[in-house]
């Protein structure tokens, strides 16, 4: 695990002595963040924070990452996220159930790979279809897979409610079923996968994805294997979503049925990447924070402010309105996502980074995938 991390850090540090320092300066905040997440938070966090906030936040960020690889980097719009997550969850469940000797991390990875394979099949139409048509066509997979898991009892080991539930979570005899344990397990998975993803998007594969996204005809002409790139994006994206799904089922809720991974979930994940920023790894975390935390914040704030004086139902409606309005507002403020906004703020704080007039985030060029 930690090796993957240093890999990621190493990736930030471009070769060349002059850049070493810059790389370090970029890696330092990240290292601090990880230290806090791995050491301080487990010591300081409460059950509520783990169970209700941090774990879902991390998992949704991971799902966002999966979709972002597919949609933000490779430009293949998909609403099949829920289905990929479900596949990962059900696959992992069956692996744990039927091959109990395989250690948990391996089952998770295998579950992800199975989801990736399903993703490839779902992605086949992308070789012919684009844009909203592709988006709408991924709904076929979304509904079909949801139905299959719900319909055929084998997938849920014939449980009465076709739901699956987590077996005991343990790695190397370490019990992970406490909130802290589940948090650490989730965090580890998320960090490891994010590190790999960060590598991947900077590699030849990632470049091929972006090339296909930005201009697929040109990509083909200069020698990028377009079909293979699209499918590999579906594979990786779905695999990451699959792991997120498995974590959702086992590390967060404990028990789920296929409806937990319905269309709403797909939309939610899409929100995350749009609000956070397409084509940005950090954006997934920002977006996830927005989507997962904002409603909680809104409800707590409004309870504090108006609790008891305003009718509870009306309050809830107002929150819904506020949530929708905030989404629109952020899209208007920064169509390239909060990650871009954050980056701009960051640069403004450190004027050394800003160099003259530049078309940095020229609209229409950013985030335009179709």
């Amino acid at each position: 695990m930690s090796s993957a991390e240093t890999e990621a850090a190493a990736d930030f540090v471009a070769p060349g002595a002059a850049r070493d320092w810059r790389g370090l300066r970029r890696a330092l905040p990240l290292g601090l963040l990880l230290a806090v997440a791995f050491v301080i938070v487990p010591l300081a966090g409460t059950d509520y924070w783990f169970n209700a906030i941090l774990i879902p936040f991390l998992i949704m960020a991971l799902a966002g990452l999966g979709l972002n690889l597919l949609m933000g980097y490779a430009g293949q719009a998909s609403l099949g996220t829920g289905a990929f997550m479900a596949t990962g969850a059900y696959a992992t469940y069956n692996l744990l159930l039927r091959l109990p000797d395989i250690p948990l991390p391996i089952s998770l990875v295998l579950g992800g790979l199975i989801a990736g394979a399903v993703g490839v099949v779902v992605g086949l139409p992308s070789l012919r279809i684009k844009g909203f048509y592709l988006l709408a066509s991924t709904l076929a997979a979304q509904f079909l897979l949801e139905w299959i898991f719900n319909q055929y009892g084998w997938f849920s080991n014939y449980s009465t409610s076709s739901s699956i539930s987590a077996p005991k979570l343990a790695i190397l005899g370490q019990d992970l079923s406490s909130p802290v344990g589940r948090y650490l397990m989730t965090l580890t998975a998320v960090v490891a996968i994010a590190a790999v993803a960060a590598r991947l998007v900077k590699s030849q594969t990632g470049r091929a994805w972006s090339a296909v996204r930005d201009m697929d005809t040109a990509a083909a002409v200069i020698g990028v294997p377009v079909a293979r790139s699209k499918l590999s994006a579906f594979f990786v994206g779905a695999a990451v979503c699959g792991v997120a799904g498995a974590l959702w089922a086992f590390a967060y809720l404990g028990t789920v049925d296929a409806r937990s991974f319905g269309l709403d979930r797909s939309f939610q994940v899409m929100f995350i990447i749009i609000v956070g920023g397409m084509g940005s790894i950090a954006g997934n975390f920002i977006g996830s924070a927005f989507i997962v935390l904002l409603p909680i914040l809104l409800s707590q704030v409004s309870d504090r402010l108006f609790g008891g004086t305003v009718d509870a139902g009306q309050l809830a409606n107002l929150q819904r309105i506020a949530f929708g309005a905030l989404i629109i507002w952020f899209l208007i403020k920064e169509p390239a996502g909060l990650a871009a906004l954050a980056e701009r703020g960051w640069r403004r704080l450190r004027p050394s980074g800003t160099a003259g007039p530049e078309r940095g985030s020229r609209p229409g060029n950013t985030g335009k995938i179709f």
Binding site: R344, T354, P357, S361, R362
Partner: protein, 261 residues
């Protein structure tokens, strides 16, 4: 030169996304019936100036933050682009922005709608465009997105002329056109100018060419006015020198206040 100002741009400053300062105090005038050239290197702010005049900045998250644009004695600040077209200013956007899904003829027709012309009028106008660009007549039923680069440029120009403007803002009209067409376009410009009194503000890279047709010229450099004068004068000075910014007579456009960063 003391005639009532036709188009007067006074000390404008324009930004994109509230932070990128693209114009810093540009002033220029177009007299009625004149052809004025706007020169400058890539990124100098030619396009931005034209968009500031036609009020198209808002659609690109840009804004005029200072100065004013006066069209026939009235400020254009509150007019939306369609209103400006109705009052005679039309812009041909840079980079052949045709409507790809519409046929060539439909593209041209869209230019006429604002005037609510009769069928006969439309027919006449179309015929006029087709005599200028016979190539378009052949392609009239093809979807514009499929036509060649030069054909698209012709469509964009033809479409703008369909609005029967009194002032045309042309952004890089010669780009990608065959020499003979470029020549024709400039001849058309001259004809329209002489016969119908249409004025032009032309942003061009090909300085030698445009100065041959223009009366007046302005040179922009990184958002500031670097030089101005009659076309003949500027041509004589050598435009190349102007681009480097060390030209004499650089306008006093130095009020580079309001740093937005």
């Amino acid at each position: 030169m003391a005639a009532a100002p036709f188009l007067e741009v006074d000390d404008i400053e324009a930004t994109y996304e509230d932070v990128i300062l693209a114009l810093r105090g540009v002033s220029l005038r177009v007299e009625e019936g004149a052809i004025v050239a706007l020169l400058g290197a890539n990124g100098a702010g030619k396009t931005t100036t034209l968009k500031a005049i036609s009020n198209l900045l808002a659609s690109e998250r840009g804004a005029l933050t200072r100065g004013s644009v006066i069209w026939k004695g009235r400020s254009t600040a509150r007019l939306d682009p369609a209103e400006l077209v109705a009052r005679g200013i039309v812009q041909v956007l840079e980079g052949r922005r045709v409507f790809p899904q519409l046929t060539v003829e439909e593209n041209l027709l869209t230019g006429g709608y604002l005037r609510r012309p009769s069928r006969a009028e439309v027919g006449n106008d179309l015929a006029r465009i087709y005599t200028w660009f016979p190539r378009l007549k052949e392609k009239r039923r093809i979807r514009a997105g499929l036509t060649s680069g030069g054909e698209q440029q012709m469509i964009a120009i033809g479409r703008a002329l369909m609005t029967r403007p009194t002032l045309v803002l042309l952004d890089e009209p010669s780009m990608g056109l065959a020499p003979i067409i470029v020549q024709e376009i400039f001849e058309i410009i001259r004809t329209l100018n002489e016969d119908e009194g249409v004025s032009f503000l032309l942003a061009e890279q090909n300085a030698a060419l445009v100065l041959r047709y223009a009366d007046h010229a302005y040179v922009l450099e990184t958002g500031r006015l670097a030089a101005a004068g009659t076309a003949a004068d500027l041509a004589a000075q050598g435009v190349e020198a102007l681009y480097l910014g060390d030209a004499p007579g650089a306008a006093a456009a130095t009020s580079s206040s309001a740093q937005q960063f």
